[in-house]
Symmetry: C2
Subunit: 247 residues, 2 copies
């Protein structure tokens, strides 16, 4: 995993396909990821057809990666397969609740990340689309996901056609807490965030958006309270429709 040190999100891909055999091998290898009770509470929907990418694109705010990538992968929390297995084996499943959704989402996200680490080691480029849980209903409709299946992550995958600069990260001390949570004083916030705020690209970002601070770009434009709360309501409604909110 030496590739991890220079890992970048790739949004532009060449026209070269990701072969079926490579994709399958990576999806199979990633199955070694730990999973709850060895139940593998996930499914992956593979999108290769242009018409299906076009159907998915609006759910991802028409970001060009969706139609530009060789493959789009939608990772789903899936308690349906396990539930059907139980029903076919004279057993009574009880996985239509919120805890079970979070169990399956966990399985699915861990699996997704191992897949990405493996794919990047092969030289493939990936882009993680956070939009999946913003517009989950549209994705469910496009991919015909039944009850007890909920999309939690989307990856666009292809051979890189760009080499962006490495993005910054917070100092590791900002995320480590020894023994108990070490709360963030204003002085610690300054120490951890000032280097990020002083990057030329971030200063530029603040300027072109007519904001005073980088944080305001996030709170006022990228991830606003109003949009979050509206999407949060939709997400809970969709979770209920998919059958995950008995409790």
């Amino acid at each position: 995993m030496k590739t991890i040190n220079s890992r970048k999100t790739i949004r532009k891909y060449t026209k070269r396909d990701v072969s079926e055999s490579l994709l399958r091998a990576l999806l199979e290898k990633a199955e070694r990821t730990p999973t709850m009770g060895n139940l593998q509470l996930y499914s992956v929907i593979v999108t290769r057809k242009a018409e299906m990418k076009a159907k998915l694109a609006p759910a991802h705010f028409n970001q060009p990666m969706v139609e530009g990538a060789s493959v789009v992968l939608t990772f789903c929390a899936d308690f349906r397969r396990t539930t059907l297995w139980a029903e076919n084996r004279n057993a009574t499943p009880g996985y239509d609740n919120f805890l079970s959704f979070l169990n399956a989402a966990t399985d699915s996200l861990l699996y997704c990340q191992t897949f990405c680490n493996l794919a990047e080691e092969e030289g493939l480029g990936t882009c993680f689309l956070g939009t999946t849980i913003y517009n989950s209903k549209a994705i469910i409709d496009a991919l015909q996901l039944p009850r007890l299946v909920m999309p939690v992550a989307t990856i666009t995958l292809g051979w890189p056609d760009e080499d962006p600069t490495l993005s910054d990260r917070l100092p590791v001390d900002s995320i480590i807490h020894n023994e108990t949570y070490n709360d963030y004083t204003p002085a610690r916030i300054d120490a951890f965030y000032t280097p990020k705020e002083q990057l030329e690209e971030n200063k530029h970002f603040v300027e072109i958006n007519n904001k005073e601070t980088l944080a305001q770009v996030f709170t006022d434009l990228r991830y606003t309270k109003e949009a979050n709360e509206a999407m949060s309501k939709e997400l809970l409604k969709t979770l209920e429709e998919q059958g995950f909110t008995k409790n």
Copy 2:
């Protein structure tokens, strides 16, 4: 990542410590994992002290890995740091909702899995504890996690002192769906699950538990409807207490 092919959960560790410098290097490398808007919505609580492991153990049903491992890592969905940053920068955050919890949980789980892939490449053994979301309130109390911080995964980490057999996995065709969801007929369920059901260890598992089928061991003993629904209620209550359910 050649280690992935023989990846096993390790529950027994030697007395050798995981050094501070190695742990820190791995936590830092894992920061390359993709993250929402580059906000890094996670924190990691490092438990090394025996008294703290003893405090955490009951929340993990006293599984011996917790007190037997060199290090216990609790990965948390953390919107607190970002919220405090915003508040310190004249910005108005709106991340006390369910969508934001799932955003932060996603960041945290992806980060956790890259960390595990890296740690295993170094020869370390890990065990993922699903109990974290079963007893999150007890973990929050032990680790003193404030509002907008929620534990979502725990890893025990150490140098392996066992070499268990490789566990089985479902055939990759059972998790792949091309273009749209390919629902599971009884015939497909049989094809995918029969090899697992016929493993000697699983037959033995059914027998010692006096059950008719392997699925019944899961539904009647390991993950029952009653326990899931009770824990699901607790989980939602705890999410509310941590401030994540404004919507």
